[in-house]
């Protein structure tokens, strides 16, 4: 008996005997007639991002660069966070006062128990997508491992205006390097987790952070 791989490949080739032998994949044309660039102004794109993120029941604030540390501090106080998880490479001036910091370092990872017992996590992001109100994490700068934004019940995320793209194709293109060259995992987050499994009634927050708060940072 031949092995499974050989059998499946042989069945596949037999099934495709109507395909001309000299046909190459690129001979099957793909008409990509859809939009790949958002022609709207930067202001419109950022406004749309803020509007759509808020529609997912996430809390959104627009803040000026200079006010960011203060805004972070205020958000954590409002939430009553005492133990805060922070990735190793979060900028120093983001770090709040009067809060116990569970700071991850590349050599010394926080345990799942630490994460599970924390009150929240503070991160940056890879980019934001206006068309869908999506925050994208790629384990890059100020984001840390995937688990950091999964076990805590509250996620405070900083998105810089210049990180926001208009359309999904623009985001996929920008993420190509992280995937192809670095093999990094990518996570799309569009609002807090949700379920409509019981009588189609929407319930916010099942397994991930049940509260998502977003700070959009502009120049002024």
């Amino acid at each position: 008996m031949s092995n499974a791989k050989e059998t499946i490949l042989a069945r596949t080739r037999h099934a495709l005997r109507d395909v001309p032998r000299d046909e190459r994949p690129e001979d099957v044309s793909i008409e990509r007639g859809y939009r790949t660039r958002d022609e709207a102004s930067r202001k419109e794109i950022v406004d749309r991002f803020a509007e759509y993120v808020a529609e997912y029941e996430a809390t959104v604030h627009r803040v000026a660069e200079a006010d960011l540390p203060k805004s972070i501090q205020e958000a954590l106080e409002r939430r009553g966070v005492e133990k805060l998880v922070v990735p190793s490479d979060v900028p120093e001036d983001w770090l709040p006062e009067g809060v116990e910091l569970l700071r991850e370092s590349p050599e010394d990872h926080l345990s799942n128990e630490d994460l599970d017992g924390s009150d929240g996590v503070l991160t940056g992001c890879a980019l934001g997508i206006a068309q869908t109100g999506t925050i994208v994490l790629d384990s890059g700068e100020a984001q840390g491992r995937r688990i950091l934004t999964l076990l805590p019940d509250y996620h405070l995320c900083v998105v810089r205006e210049e990180q926001i793209v208009g359309l999904v194709p623009e985001a996929i293109e920008k993420l190509g390097v992280a995937v192809k060259d670095k093999g990094r995992a990518i996570t799309f987050i569009s609002g807090p987790s949700a379920t409509s499994d019981i009588e189609l009634e929407r319930v916010e927050g099942v397994h991930g952070p049940r509260t998502l708060e977003v700070l959009i940072v502009g120049a002024s």
Binding site: A10, P25, V28, R32, T36, K182, S196
Partner: protein, 486 residues
Amino acid sequence: MTAGATDAFSPGKTPTFQESAKVSLADSQLRRNIGKAAKGIREKRAAAVAELPDWQELREAGRAIKERTLRHLDDYLLQLEESVQNAGGHVHWARDADEANRIIAGIAKQHDADEVVKVKSIATDETKLNEHLESEGIKAHETDLAELIIQLANETSSHILVPAIHKNRAEIREIFMRELDVKDLSDEPSDLTEVARLYLRKKFLSAKVGVSGANFGVAETGTVCVVESEGNGRMCTTLPPVLVTLMGIEKIIPTWQDFEVYMQLLPRSSTAERMNPYTSFWTGVSGEAGDGPQEFHLVLLDNGRTDVLADEVGRQALNCIRCSACLNACPVYERTGGHAYNSVYPGPIGAILTPQLVGIGKPGPDSLPYASSLCGACYEVCPVKINIPEVLIHLRGKVIRKKQSAGLTGKLHPENVAMQAMAKTFSDPSLYESAQRLARIGQWPLARSGAIHSLPGELSGWTRSRDIKPIPDQTFREWWRERRGS
């Protein structure tokens, strides 16, 4: 050469759609829930789609990418294998359900796991993975809320996307109190969800092995993608040290770039959202150190898919990205619900996929291509342009021809005679009109209270499962002529 799917759908024993539909139609709770769900999602989907001015261009690209992939599937399978291996993952090939189940059980045993956490995967439903693991002493915990509910209730899914749509809150409360040993529980969905969160959190943190399906696998990079709402997918693919993904061989897309199409098509078609809450993409295990599983296995499943591929008309069913828009659009599904299809793939897509996966010539699956009025609503909403009515008619032809060759029917079988006569009549306007006039005169002994409940003699099979509206006093063509003349 071709083995076909193993008994994943129990094709020999399953009743026909028409038999099962009678049971479903009598269940008023089921009909209410499904009617409410289908209508709600249908309206929301239309609004979400209307937001994108380039929806038709996206659909066309979604279709074309799948066509390219399927026509060169052997090349893409080999490329995917190499990419996953380069990223530090392992690739397994499974000819059928049993082989896939044995591979997955073997991996769990290697790690001394007596339980695994699972994120909703129709492929593992198809292979009946949970039952197999159980027989090997491994408990599979479903972690999707709806899947957990039906697992605890010991039932099967009735909808691809909302599997517990046939259960109301009071029933769910009862199941949780009984199975999870919870006291004092209200029937508020938020309270019920909280109970599930706490119960499953413990499972996520202790499980050694996670099992997932895949929405897409990228040949170019080896990236696997899971699209979800609740976060259980992120949990299952991040927390356990070992991750096993079961993926049908048709779930391949050629390049990372192709996500720019499918991440627009799938969420809006599926849950009618701009984007689903969480999507995870991972590429082997070569990401950041200590991030996610240390071991990744991808199991590629055939189980009848190469049989579907061999049918030049039917192979487009493999384009399916499991959004479930066709279920919500279907007037037949809306009334019968998912269980009547007796398959893990219900609705219009199931009606063309199941009979092809298990092979024509079995009474249950053979009845599925008839579970349709051919209204075409499914084709219209399909984000990858699967022409479901075309495949339904094609499969009806195959069913009839199979019966003929088996001597079960012949040229003189009433359905065959009727179809031939219909073809002739429809092709000639004057024949068509005189047939209508004749029918109007001929029907009067049969029509009662506005419907024909049973046709005589050889045609009685037609009305056994449907009522026919009598021919109106004035046909559309007659009315049209009069209107134009006046």
